[in-house]
């Protein structure tokens, strides 16, 4: 195919004519992917562009928008709830989510990778991955019930050992930490599989060579395996940075941003402004700020997390 291009292009002249000719000859391919692009433009790009425009307006979603310039941005950067509480909480939850997602599944995968018995390795892998089938919403509700201050299990245990019961999610001081603790032991099945795939892709001869050179398990992990799974770490970090900025599922299902805004995040405030208050302009401004932040951090991640070691798989 590449050779055909090389033959055709000089005869047709300009690059534009070459592309146009290519499109004409392969028109049915473009028709086949047109639907996908139409849907993508309609449901992904158009709303995003529309949100940027509406972020400069007062808009209730029903009547024509009114242009207010940077008024909405001024509001979100001066509002105590959104700017101070929500962005601070997002930063804390975001750092924790990234650390949690990058480390605990990694440790789990590293341990699984070292199990010599195939059967046992399969068994433990299954144990870690099986919780994926439990819907996330159900898991969240279970944790919510565990935390219930008066009839929940955690306080029953505390009372049982003579300790003082805690309010957990219902306390403005403990709510954020309680949210962070949810999901313990924090070994996400998908993350674990991604890391494990990375470990399994490391050429065996590399590992064997290191063993011959006298590297112990600890040294192998730090000096050999970890540098070789940097692409997986980068993927996990980027996905979780994006997730941490966008997510407000815990707030929606568990805390509603409370108590006393202790767990609110920009994503929740965006939802709240749009759906509860009908202030789509402000919500769009929050969304635009989040987009810029996520985009910048993704570029930053790409630039900072680099692997110096490349290897030929297989």
């Amino acid at each position: 195919m590449a050779e055909m291009h090389a033959v055709r292009s000089p005869r047709r002249g300009s690059a534009f004519r070459r592309v146009a000719g290519e499109m004409r000859s392969r028109w049915y391919c473009y028709v086949m992917i047109a639907g996908t692009y139409a849907l993508l433009i309609t449901f992904a790009y158009y709303p995003a562009v529309s949100a940027v425009y509406h972020s400069f307006t007062i808009w209730d979603g029903f009547r024509p928008p009114t242009w207010v310039g940077f008024g909405n941005y001024h509001e979100i950067f001066t509002d105590k709830t959104i700017f101070r509480s929500a962005f601070k909480n997002m930063a804390l939850l975001g750092v924790w989510q990234v650390v949690r997602a990058a480390t605990f599944p990694l440790l789990g995968a590293a341990l699984l990778y070292r199990i010599k018995s195939e059967k046992m390795a399969y068994f433990y892998r299954l144990l870690f991955v099986l919780p994926i089938v439990v819907p996330w919403v159900v898991a969240v509700q279970v944790w919510k019930n565990l935390y219930e201050p008066n009839i929940g299990m955690f306080n029953a245990i505390l009372k049982g050992i003579g300790a003082t019961p805690q309010a957990f999610l219902n306390s403005p001081k403990q709510a954020l930490a309680s949210l962070m603790f949810m999901g313990f032991p924090w070994i996400d099945g998908v993350g674990l599989l991604i890391y494990l795939a990375g470990f399994l892709a490391i050429p065996l001869e590399v590992i064997e060579a290191s063993i011959v050179d006298g590297a112990n398990s600890w040294t192998r992990f730090w000096k050999m395996e970890l540098p070789l799974i940097v692409p997986q770490i980068r993927l996990i970090v980027i996905l979780n940075v994006i997730g941490a900025f966008q997510n407000f599922g815990w707030q929606l299902l568990v805390t509603r941003g409370g108590p006393m805004n202790a767990t609110t995040v920009p994503g929740w405030e965006m939802y709240h402004q749009a759906i509860n208050s009908g202030r789509y302009g402000v919500a769009s401004a929050i969304g635009t700020v989040l987009f810029v932040m996520i985009f910048a951090l993704t570029l930053f991640n790409q630039a900072m997390i680099k692997s110096d070691v490349e290897y030929q798989a297989g």
Binding site: Y28, V31, G61, P149, N150, I151, P165, N170, A175, S277
Partner: protein, 499 residues
Amino acid sequence: MFEKKIDRRHALRLMGLTAAGAMAAACTPKAEPTAAPAATKAPDAPAEATKAPEVKEWTLIFDAAGATPTDMETAQEGDVIQQGLQPAADDYKDVKPGVTIEWYRFPQGSNRTEWLNARIAAQDCPDMYWMNADALWPHVNKGWALDFTEYAKSPNPYMPGNKNWEDYIDFVGRTSQIGPDGKVYGINLDGAGVLWIVNRDAYDKAGVTELPKTWSEFMAGNEKLKESGIVPIGGDFSQQCCFTHWTHGHVFGWLAWDNIYDFDDDGDLYVTTKEMAEYYQRGEFPLWEEFTRLAELFREQEPYLPLGYQGEVAYRDMFRRGEVAAYMEGNWTVTSFIKDPPPFEYTWMNYPQLTKAEWPGCPDDKKVRLQGPWGGMQYHVPGYLPETDPERIPVIMDWLMFITQPKYVEPACAERGTVPMVEGAEAMPEIAPFTAPYDRAVPYQSWASLSAPAYESERALLAEYAGSTMSNDELVSRGKEVWEEEVKNLLESNPDWTI
């Protein structure tokens, strides 16, 4: 057998053509029905309500909320089975054979405002939906609800006599549907009241032999209950119904006894969102001294609330388990308590009366009751129908007039223990405590709250105040910030409320 092979390129071309055809078909506008409605304006002659087309088939999607019949396909053993308005739908088949009523099952656990916002924006709302009118007012000028006025002021052919439809409705129910612009935006067929449900055994065990009638008796009783090892008050400051705004509603009724109606310009015995916003702009509302006292009374109750009261607490479950001594509950729970009583003796109690000891402006020996239009049968119609399907409006109105008949309202209310608001319909005897005489009704669930988001901010402030040493000056200062912000937001979407 004849066989023809096609190469990959031809196969792809064929698939491309098929895809293009499918896309073209999908994007082609839907063919207009032969009997396309010519008018884009809502038929404004209410008399047409009874002339719903009988030849054309209609299916009305009805979010009947509290009067929705139980879905027998999903009902489980032990579920309370209710008929709701199913008998009316069955009878209506004889009256209007072309009209079918389809029950809309509201997604459990969803937030009404969020749901309605999405449904109205997408124009796929049920033809009739339930919502408390006070939650609707901040959005009514965005076209969330249809103007009922001309129908409300026209005769209802299904009722005896020749009165206008709205004249068959109780005063509170009728006025509750009058929007900020004076138009009628719904029909309200039942109402509700609030009392305290009390674990009588726990009170006796703690030595509280007489049910408290005043605030001071109530607080003294709470201290004894706490000493006996039970949580005296079930309630929290979360979004779940209803400790905060019901306390707000009752207590403010006493604190602002003399002057609350000074802000009621439209005479509906309630200070509407619009009135509050206007009086705020004049600097006359809210009443900050009364607000401060309200916050202090919340703080007085704080030691008697369950652990974690600043978030959501399962205090209803705790009550049934005998771990909470009392909490406020609506009359709609009476039937479930009768069918499934808790393992102890329980009774209903009026909200303890505030006296001059709590606030100098309190009246002597007056009962305040949350007794309003917010039952399960308060129906509105999407405001976009005049543009999208005007012919549907008289069909809907005819059905709503039909279900106003006492023979349908009374049993539907009896099933849920709500108070009928229709002339000729009687409340079930078991809810007598909720219909006992009172001196002032709080027609909505709280006074002095601008909107749901504003109330969330206020509630968070009250929760923080109750559980801290926040000064009254700081309380007022932060309360003013909340009001400033919310009035600004409210005027943003209701510019005509600016004075």
